[in-house]
């Protein structure tokens, strides 16, 4: 697929002017998927929608990469009580900035996807949780939602059917942890954003103790594409195990950073050199953080032939994450980078679990010591020991996300850490 990427026509962010306006969106096939389903409910019962999405194998774009249709199928049978869909637009991870493009340029695609998801799971209320810093995009989304209500795509008896759903936006207050699905629910309920202990899982006991599914914005935006074109069409985009269009958020030391929509499974070097215009100032590539700051950094020398999909990235010991690629050139000091990432996780740890609350701070302080040239060799062992005891010992994955960059960068860039600790001048390779 990556061969003919140049001829790829974007689906999530097509180059159409004013696509965020309802008439423009409708003119370009907007809300067709929704009306197809609702006008032909015998052909498209909710189970059929779930099956189709499951078949399409949309792997969650929020980082975990879980099959969205499979996740929907975990919702229990309706029992008459309320059920919720929470849309996760809290993207706050350093290096991740793809959902804002959807809010900005194609909000109706996401809204349509969310309504279809609500139909498939018998959901009554959709909440869209957006990070507070996205104030302008919340306004844009609110406007789009208003338009959808006006047109009868949202609200009571949508398109004359007996299906009704409400949609609300909710702004976060600046906490990274609220992007974790269970603390997102706590935050929506008006509580402190502490992740919940699982089980029970959200599908059993979610918002206000009711069945809830949490999906990423980009994941939901893929749903109308699947309904319109069929699962088999969707699956032939990109590799079988991780199909579909992906919004690559490319940042760092490249000439043209930005969000690019291409098929999943693009070759990483193609993305860097051709899509993003190559490394800045003609420098050499040193390292890549492939999917947001929590994914383990990798050395440039392992990237040949590696593609952006879960399986290929696993081979080199990292993860797809949110496809928020951070490119680091040869001038980058990895100790500085990792310290800065550690600083972020120290700042964002919610403080609920002991290993994360104390470990993130300890990591940052130790890295700062090394960064300032006061480190000793034993500090590297200490860092690895702290990582060991943080990983897998907490309620949510933030401790893992904080520990991995440290562990893997010491693993993969040990010479740089050692030279700092040995108090020698670090010569740029």
């Amino acid at each position: 697929m990556s061969k003919d990427w140049k001829s790829y026509q974007p689906h999530l962010l097509p180059a159409i002017k004013d696509l965020h306006e309802m008439p423009v969106y409708e003119k370009h096939g907007g809300y067709k998927a929704l009306s197809t389903i609702l006008k032909d409910k015998n052909n498209w019962p909710p189970e059929e929608v779930v099956a189709e999405v499951k078949e399409a194998n949309i792997r969650g774009r929020g980082g975990a990469g879980f099959n969205a249709g499979l996740k929907w199928s975990f919702m229990p049978e309706p029992d008459g009580g309320p059920r919720y869909l929470a849309c996760n637009g809290d993207e706050s991870e350093p290096g991740t900035f793809k959902d804002r493009k959807l809010f900005e340029f194609n909000p109706h695609l996401f809204i349509e996807g969310a309504i279809i998801a609500a139909y498939a799971m018998h959901v009554d209320v959709i909440y869209v949780y957006i990070r507070g810093e996205y104030r302008p995009y919340v306004k844009l989304l609110d406007e789009a939602i208003r338009q959808a209500y006006d047109k009868g795509y949202l609200g009571k008896n949508i398109l004359g059917s007996d299906f009704s759903v409400e949609m609300y936006t909710h702004m976060g207050a600046g906490a990274y942890i609220c992007g974790e699905e269970s603390s997102l629910m706590e935050s929506l309920e008006g509580k402190r954003g502490y992740p919940r202990v699982k089980p029970p899982f959200p599908a059993q006991k979610g918002l206000w103790g009711r069945p809830t599914t949490i999906n990423n914005i980009e994941t939901l935006a893929n749903v109308p594409l699947v309904i319109n074109n069929g699962a088999s069409w969707f699956k032939q985009i990109g590799p079988d195990s991780h199909p579909g269009p992906v919004l690559y958020g490319i940042s760092g030391h490249v000439n043209q950073p930005g969000v690019y929509e291409y098929p999943s499974g693009m070759e990483i070097m193609t993305l860097i050199n051709e899509v993003a215009g190559g490394v800045r100032n003609g420098k050499k590539l040193k390292a890549l953080i492939p999917g947001g700051s929590s994914t383990p950094p990798v050395r440039a020398d392992v990237l040949d032939g590696i593609t952006m999909d879960a399986d290929s990235l696993r081979e080199i010991g990292t993860m797809m994450g949110t496809a928020g690629m951070v490119i680091l050139d040869e001038d980058t000091d990895m100790v500085d980078v990792i310290w800065r990432i550690s600083h972020f996780y120290h700042h964002e740890s919610c403080g609920q679990c002991t290993p994360c609350r104390e470990g993130t701070g300890w990591l940052e302080k130790t890295l700062l010591k090394i960064k300032n040239g006061n480190g000793e060799m034993r500090d590297l062992d200490l860092l690895l020991a702290i990582c060991n005891r943080m990983e897998g010992r907490t309620i949510c994955a933030l401790a893992d996300a904080a520990a991995w960059p440290v562990r893997y960068s010491i693993d993969r860039f040990r010479d740089e850490f050692e030279s700092r600790c040995k108090k020698t001048v670090y010569a740029v390779a």
Binding site: I177, V197, H347, G351, P355, E358, A385, G392, I395
Partner: protein, 580 residues
């Protein structure tokens, strides 16, 4: 019956539950901080981690898969699990620090984490000695710490409310206190603020933590972050004796411990009793400890003809009392029992005067409508209203006391420990023409105007039983000594009873601060005629007699109360106040 294997030992369970609670119920040790049996399970301290696994079930064969050694194949969870949140499951295998080095290491690691930002100021911390963090660190913690950086600094000595003080640096963020205000007292006054290693519990801006149950957060705080404004810096835990008792400040009869040093009550803390107060008690009950120490009546007092009260000898007091009795006929004597006094004292008061032919027995319920709530505070302000009523005293509402006195015109009134002149509409003038005998623990309006004052023991000094608003009879133990009685000889502080620390004889005996008083029943035994003197040696004997005479108390004994943690009585009257 479903089974579970903990450290290679087999246990059976009936009810579904959590692994940690199951282990605690079976006396197995596992360190934990955030878990509390009466609160929700946040699993946030991560201290109670265990290695857990399930046997592999072969669906085709309908049996567990067996390995080469003939044991069940176990599939372990990939991560260590927190026992507090782990559901019991049939066949589950648990390995704790006793049988798994990884678990042992994980527990030590976690304690190292907790301690890196903990100030380690145990020598000046009030919690030292009863601090789970201190105890568990000695038991499970690492040898030292590898943390070489500055600790996080947070606010110290913040007055959260009138009774609770916060030291945020000591906080380990277990959230027990916030969960208490959310789930038990339901005031939601505390919440964790800030994030990560900077967080600590705090009230909302400008609000104060004046929850009527606020001091319970001090009890459940596993470190010295929350301390009692009243108790802090007063006494070390190991300097005090701890005696089981009950709260006599209201009608609920919360089970308590009385902590004494040198015959002074230093503090009162709740004692677990699922049927009454669970792990909690109201702040008012704790702070009522002062009444055991301060303003106590010591030595009898007699009013002279000039109108002033003077201290007198016990002999003189007894003589005066006998003389006054002989001066008048029995129908001129009014006896007022007390909901604040014990079943035994009220019984002996009534039976002694019945022998003299007295028929006027009443008591004044101490009820403040609206003072109670649906947790542990009650409208009834007295610990024994049901007990005194069951003994045959007629309830006289406080407003009708004047009518009673006006109509019967007694020339002598005997009042058992109850500040009638202070709390009712019966002003001292009402008693001007009568000879008032007051048997009380503390100086108050009534003792001030009485003609004869007999000092009696308080709930902290005698063994006695009380019937709470729900009809549950519970008893106290002597926690501090009086001038004449040695509580050991008085049988109830028995020598065989192990104290909290498992020792028999750790009671710190001191001559200081003893009050010159006797149990009320003992005074009536003393003044009864030699020919007809009951041979009661202790309140235990009295209760035995009561249980034979009064139907409500049938089969009630101190032994049963001790074994069953109080006995639920079948109250015949409804608990509404009957008026005469």
């Amino acid at each position: 019956m479903p089974e579970i294997f903990i450290d290679n030992k087999r246990y059976e369970y009936e009810e579904p539950g959590k692994v940690l609670q199951f282990m605690l119920d079976h006396g197995l040790d596992l360190p934990f901080f955030c878990y509390h049996p009466s609160l929700s399970i946040p699993a946030n301290c991560r201290q109670c981690v265990v290695k857990a696994g399930m046997p592999v079930f072969d669906r085709d064969k309908g049996a567990y898969e067996i390995d080469e050694d003939g044991n069940r194949k176990i599939r372990y969870f990939p991560k260590l699990m927190t026992a507090c949140s782990l559901d019991l499951a049939d066949g589950m295998v648990i390995h704790t620090h006793h049988t798994d080095d990884l678990v042992k290491q994980a527990q030590a690691d976690n304690l190292e984490f907790i301690l890196i930002n903990h100030p380690l100021d145990c020598p000046i911390c009030d919690q030292a000695g009863e601090c789970p963090l201190q105890i568990l660190t000695y038991k499970y913690g690492p040898e030292g710490s590898r943390f070489e950086h500055k600790k996080v600094h947070k606010p110290k000595a913040i007055q959260l409310g009138p009774r609770v003080i916060l030291d945020a640096e000591r906080c380990i963020n277990c959230t027990r206190c916030t969960r208490f205000t959310e789930e038990i007292s339901k005031t939601n006054q505390l919440s964790i603020i800030s994030r990560g290693d900077k967080n600590y519990p705090m009230t909302a801006e400008g609000e104060e933590f004046d929850d009527p149950y606020s001091l319970n957060t001090v009890d459940i705080c596993p470190v010295g972050a929350l301390t009692s404004a009243d108790f802090r810096f007063k006494a070390r835990v190991w300097e005090m004796n701890q005696t089981p008792s009950i709260d006599v400040s209201n009608g609920k009869g919360c089970n308590t411990y009385i902590w004494t040093r040198d015959n002074l009550v230093m503090r009162i803390t709740p004692r677990f009793n699922e049927a009454v107060n669970d792990h909690w008690m109201p702040d008012a009950g704790r702070l009522s400890y002062r009444e055991y120490n301060e303003n106590r009546i010591s030595k009898p007092h007699i009013r002279l003809d000039a109108g002033n009260q003077v201290k007198s000898s016990w002999n003189n007091a007894e003589l005066t009392f006998r003389e006054e009795l002989e001066k008048r006929s029995a129908d001129k004597i009014q006896v007022i029992g007390s909901p604040h006094a014990s079943v035994e004292d009220n019984y002996v008061l009534k039976s002694s005067f019945e022998k003299l032919g007295v028929q006027n027995f009443s008591f004044v319920p101490h009820v403040i409508p609206g003072a109670g709530d649906d947790l542990l505070l009650t409208d009834d302000q007295a610990p024994n209203t049901n007990g005194v009523r069951a003994l045959g005293y007629a309830a006289t509402e406080s407003g009708k006391l004047k009518k009673l006195i006006d109509s019967k015109k007694p020339s002598m009134i005997v009042i058992l420990n109850d500040d009638l002149m202070g709390r009712t509409d019966a002003p001292p003038e009402l008693f001007e023409d009568t000879f008032v005998v007051y048997l009380g623990t503390n100086h108050n309006e009534t003792s001030k105007h009485a003609d004869l004052v007999i000092p009696v023991t308080s709930a902290a000094e005698h063994a006695a039983s009380y019937v709470n608003v729900d009809g549950r009879i519970q008893r106290t133990f002597p926690a501090k000594e009086t001038l004449y009685t040695n509580r050991r000889l008085n049988l109830e502080m028995s020598m065989g009873r192990l104290d909290h620390y498992g020792t028999k004889f750790d009671n710190w005996v001191s001559d200081a601060n003893r009050i010159d008083c006797i149990p009320a029943w003992e005074f009536f035994v003393r003044i009864s005629p030699d020919s007809d003197r009951p041979d009661w040696q202790s309140s235990r004997d009295i209760l035995d007699q009561i249980s034979g005479e009064v139907p409500l108390f049938r089969d009630v004994s101190y032994e049963r109360m001790d074994d069953e943690n109080g006995i639920q009585l079948k109250l015949e009257q409804d608990s509404e106040v009957n008026t005469v």
